[in-house]
């Protein structure tokens, strides 16, 4: 193993790790937004809206994320959507993981005993009040761990955007392999950095989960 080389290229990888972190954070935020909207649609009173929610989930879970990304980045300009690679990466991955998060969030909501909604409605709360003050606070606690699983998948999924040349960890490894012919060292560094990001995120989620647990 070429330690000297590793020390030399290491700063570039740290920089790339920042890009991966930014991608992950923005994708998580977009994913949660899409997931919340998707879950609201899936649970809507209106059949049309439920259908749209289901269609969103089926499409994004039923096709490869890479194809979705290519469709957006390479196909987008053809229909007037011009995005730089980073933007396309965030939007493509965020909307994709949002479909998974839709199911996670919906699962958390429907896991709450229906007696809770009934008790709230019986007191005179509206559908929304019952959701906001009774169902969601309980469902949110149930969702933290499964959303953590989605986020874990999403962080690893950011590697896909190397294919549209966003300079993140995977792309950086590939670029240095081109000039150094040392794939083992390069992929090892990016692997370790991915692991660090995922480890810290996992700890954060476990902490959050413990903190909000109901007595």
């Amino acid at each position: 193993m070429d330690i000297e080389l590793i020390l030399k290229v290491y700063p570039y990888f740290i920089e790339a790790a920042w890009v991966t972190i930014q991608l992950s954070v923005l994708t998580t935020l977009l994913g949660l937004t899409c997931g919340a909207l998707g879950a609201a649609a899936r649970l809507s009173r209106l059949a049309v809206v439920r259908f749209l929610g289901a269609a969103y989930v089926s499409f994004f879970r039923g096709t490869p994320a890479l194809i979705q990304l290519f469709l957006l980045y390479f196909g987008g300009p053809q229909i007037g959507i011009q995005l730089d690679a980073f933007e396309a990466g965030v939007i493509g991955l965020g909307v994709n993981i949002g479909a998974y998060m839709t199911e996670t969030i919906r699962g958390g909501i429907i896991a709450i005993d229906k007696g809770q909604r009934e008790a709230a409605r019986t007191l005179g709360m509206s559908r929304w009040q019952a959701m906001r003050y009774v169902i969601l606070p309980q469902a949110a606690r149930l969702m933290i761990r499964p959303l953590g699983v989605n986020i874990n998948a999403l962080i690893k999924g950011t590697a896909l955007v190397a294919a549209i040349s966003v300079v993140e960890l995977t792309y950086t490894a590939q670029r240095f392999i081109g000039s150094t012919y040392k794939p083992f060292e390069m992929f090892l560094i990016s692997g370790i950095l991915y692991m660090a990001i995922i480890y810290v995120t996992g700890r954060g989620i476990a902490w959050l989960d413990r903190r909000v647990r109901i007595v």
């Binding site: 005993d113 007696g115 809770q116 009934e118 008790a119 709230a120 409605r121 019986t122 007191l123 005179g124 709360m125 509206s126 559908r127 009040q129 003050y133 009774v134 606070p137 309980q138 606690r141 109901i214 007595v215």
Partner: protein
Amino acid sequence: MTEKPFVDIRHAQKSFGSLEVLKDINLQVSRGQIVAIIGPSGSGKSTLLRAINDLDPLTGGEVWLEDTQVNKKLPHRQYEKHINQVRQDIGMVFQHFNLFPHLTVRENIKLAPKMLKGLSDAEADKLAEEQLDKVGMLERIDYYPSQLSGGQKQRVAIARALAMKPKVMLFDEATSALDPELVEEVNLVMKKLAEEHMTMIIVTHEMGFAESVCDRVLFMDQGVVVEEGPPDVIFRNPTNERTRNFLRKHLANANK
């Protein structure tokens, strides 16, 4: 003098798909009256009770509370507004308590009055304390539901319903999920409400309790009211064969 009914159920009909669960039920309850509904499992007792606050909407017939039709036909948005208002006047207690587990006892009680009646935090606190005192649960005000016994949970659930100052209280087997030794504490609370002339409709399997507390008993079977009358008549001298059979079986089971 015949007083106009306080709760008036007229020709109530309910089907789940092709299954007709309530068949032309009529029930008039006057103010302060306490009515027990008894009957075998699946006879439609809960469905009838849940029709009163439109939790299980009827497929036919009308429910009135004083001068308001509970299940009146309105466009969706208006109906939601209407029903949310009406439900504030109809307290309901469930077999499984349905306390909000993420909130303390205090918060369970304060939530709806603050949100729906615009009470200040201090007013809501005072209200919660009053209602908990009434059900003998004041010392547990800052506990979470998971820290209470079943009987205590049910007493808190009753306090939560009472905090909305309802005109009528509905009980759906309030003591069925409790260990036998915890039943009495809940029954005592219900008796106290009876003494205060709260209008109550009580679905129960406890014949002794029904007999001692209620003014009237309805026996339901297969979606119809088979027989109704004062408790001593229904329990001591039922005229209908089905009522007699039910009570005999029930007594046999209770003595096992």
